[in-house]
């Protein structure tokens, strides 16, 4: 079963949402460890409904398009909890396109390579800053407005912290590598 199914079930387990809101929620909270296209979200919601893990109904709105709101069912809750209980006994290796490029760039022009690494550095720096400001503030805000969500906001903060540490390490590595290539090639 796809991870996305569990992200949707997990989100709906907190509160009922529409496809659009689920997308927005992912863009604010899970984006640094899992993302999905809108098209995939709607398709997966259909599957979940077909499998009886969620139900939905149309909500009519004035001055805005009508929308379909999804609710988790007991079967959905059971499925989610079953997944969360199952131990992960294997590492999942991430895929990193930049490392692939670097690895095979032995015959490439040094300056081209350095430009790519510097561009990546600035992108990672941007992402790190976003985690440290926007995401941080959003978590604090949610914690303040919904104190009953405390167990969740603490875990959200833990996930944010992982992003922060891993971006810091990546930037440190990029700096090391840029230095190495400048000095020795």
């Amino acid at each position: 079963m796809s991870v996305l199914r569990y992200i949707l079930l997990g989100s709906l387990n907190y509160t009922s949402l529409t496809g659009y809101q689920l997308k927005k929620f992912m863009g604010e909270s899970t984006f640094h460890f899992w993302y999905a296209q809108t098209s995939q979200i709607y398709r997966t919601l259909d599957e979940l409904e077909h499998d009886g893990l969620v139900t939905s109904e149309i909500e009519e709105q004035e001055d805005r398009p009508d929308r379909r709101r999804y609710h988790i069912t007991q079967a959905g809750r059971d499925d989610l909890h079953g997944w969360l209980m199952r131990p992960m006994t294997q590492l999942e290796m991430p895929k990193d396109k930049l490392l692939v490029r670097l690895f095979f760039s032995g015959q490439m022009d040094k300056e081209v390579l350095l430009t790519q690494l510097r561009l990546q550095r600035s992108l990672h720096q941007q992402h790190l800053t976003e985690l440290q400001t926007v995401t941080r503030a959003l978590i604090a805000d949610t914690a303040a407005r919904a104190p009953e969500m405390q167990p969740h906001t603490r875990l959200w903060e833990a996930a944010r912290r992982q992003g922060e540490l891993s971006e810091e390490a990546y930037i440190r590595w990029l700096d090391e590598t840029i230095q190495l290539i400048q000095d020795t090639f």
Copy 2:
């Protein structure tokens, strides 16, 4: 075009290899940033040959199964270099299933969660140790036996170093998070 195509082209750009050897090579060198199933490798080699980026011929062997050895063509080299030159202007967000589980584990039993985090810690520790011993030795060995590959072995070491730094950061985060959950839930 899939990244795997370029990994195969990039490897064949160093030397001619068989599907089996390409799989082995990936298992020794790129495994911590890109892996692929055997079935996918053979299929992709077919595609590359069909597109004229590689050629192949059967090599007969005594006492061992015959094998098909692949060679990169000039078109393959051009394709590879075109890909390596193209700048990467966007970050690629990794996907991390453990973070998904953690994020939605607000109602889970504390001990179940701790067990999962401790298991992950030991898996990451194993992987880190492998990078620091086996992979490190393999790079040193390759560098010693093929000094003309120096530009490549240096980049290989840079890629290995990324794995080391990122595993260290991940383990640090796991320790922090285990502590947090022990103390506050």
